[in-house]
Symmetry: C2
């Protein structure tokens, strides 16, 4: 399992430096910066706070938008301090860091973890582009974690458990293309039966959550796919 | 289970601020500062980086030395980036954060976690004053975590698991006094049979590790205590 950190419009050099150090602490493959909001002074701070990992600063990959930054990855987790287990905001439904590691093992080798702006986090649209949302349970006293602490906790959970997970699932990987096809068929079907655009989109997000969290194996997803494709064909007649 | 963070000679205001914020994120009871090495400017930085938790800065408890800072606590964990599972440096033997939570539940309500200087960590003498050492497994690329990231990971592990642990063990708490008495008897015995002071002290540290990690219940520790006390009485004749 290889980890990719994606930072969307990061605003602080200290944070970037500390995350760069964490990348070495926990064997992260690559740091990708989407449209960073940093001055030259902030990059200098990044170098100081990266400490012995400052060499990695030369290896950042810069990308124009989130789509480009995640297109080659097998599974992509958004992160947010606003998340829920219930309610109709399906893009806000979350998995814990521990659950995320377990799930990642089923979907392939390249795992992306996306962090948003320090001030406002990820937009709901950006979360929707990712496969699942990670939320770190915290006290009611103060819900929001500093971005580097959220990264430390998530990366640690992946670090201590990913080898076990990888060896456990290596022969049972789910082809993510099958999941995406199931989602497309479902969307086609939803198109036929639901008029309200917002409600339709919601149903697609809900189905996505269920599919990913359900960690279907090859046979399971193939059967579901067959049902959905047959239904889609009938409705398209 | 109530958590107490003890910071020994902390050197950086940003770190102090970030740890103060973490204390609210993960329901820490109190932050204790042993001989902090901070200028007024550094305290100002602490206030900025504590963010919405800056009110806690007024609630720090200042203490002269580590002994005073831990004397009222039921179990105290040191932290270090230098640790081992093997070898004869028994004060360097570690438990992981997950193991620490499991153990803490057995020894009482007030749990201390001690962090050392950012530059040099805790001394081996300071580690020896604590009951057990926590070490966070990290990559060979870069072993040492930033102090606030170590705190985030440990506090998170306690936060998500301490309620389960507390309810699991609430009726089976080990009286720490019994453990300390067993240690004292063991030391008395070691005194009688081992001449080399360093070697003797080593054996006491090793026995301490085993006792704490072994999480004996009331009956078990009582029996061990009885054996040791009888032996000690014989040798003292």
């Amino acid at each position: 399992m290889r980890l990719y950190i994606i930072l969307v419009e990061i605003e602080g050099g200290i944070n970037l430096g500390l995350i760069t150090r964490l990348a070495d602490n926990f064997d992260v493959e690559e740091i990708r910066l989407v449209n960073p909001k940093l001055t030259d002074e902030e990059y200098e701070l990044a170098e100081i706070f990266a400490s012995h990992s400052k060499h990695r600063i030369k290896e950042y990959r810069f990308l124009k938008n989130l789509d480009e930054a995640i297109e080659d990855l097998d599974i992509v987790f958004a992160t947010s301090a606003k998340a829920t287990r219930e309610g109709s905001g399906f893009r806000r439904r979350y998995v814990t860091p521990m659950e995320a590691v377990e799930m990642a093992g089923r979907y392939g080798d390249k795992v992306g973890i996306v962090f948003g702006r320090e001030s406002t986090g990820l937009t709901i649209e950006e979360i929707g582009k990712c496969d699942l949302l990670i939320y770190i349970p915290t006290s009611e006293k103060y819900r929001a974690l500093n971005i580097t602490h959220a990264a430390a906790i998530i990366l640690y959970e992946f670090y201590i458990r990913r080898e076990d997970i990888t060896s456990k699932y290596i022969k049972k990987k789910v082809d993510k293309e099958l999941i995406n096809r199931a989602l497309e068929y479902f969307e086609t079907l939803a198109n036929k039966v639901i008029k309200d655009d917002e409600y339709k989109q919601k149903s697609v997000y809900a189905f996505k959550n269920i599919l990913y969290r359900g960690r279907p194996d090859y046979r399971e997803i193939k059967i579901v796919l067959r049902v959905l494709s047959k239904l889609a064909r009938i409705f398209n007649k």
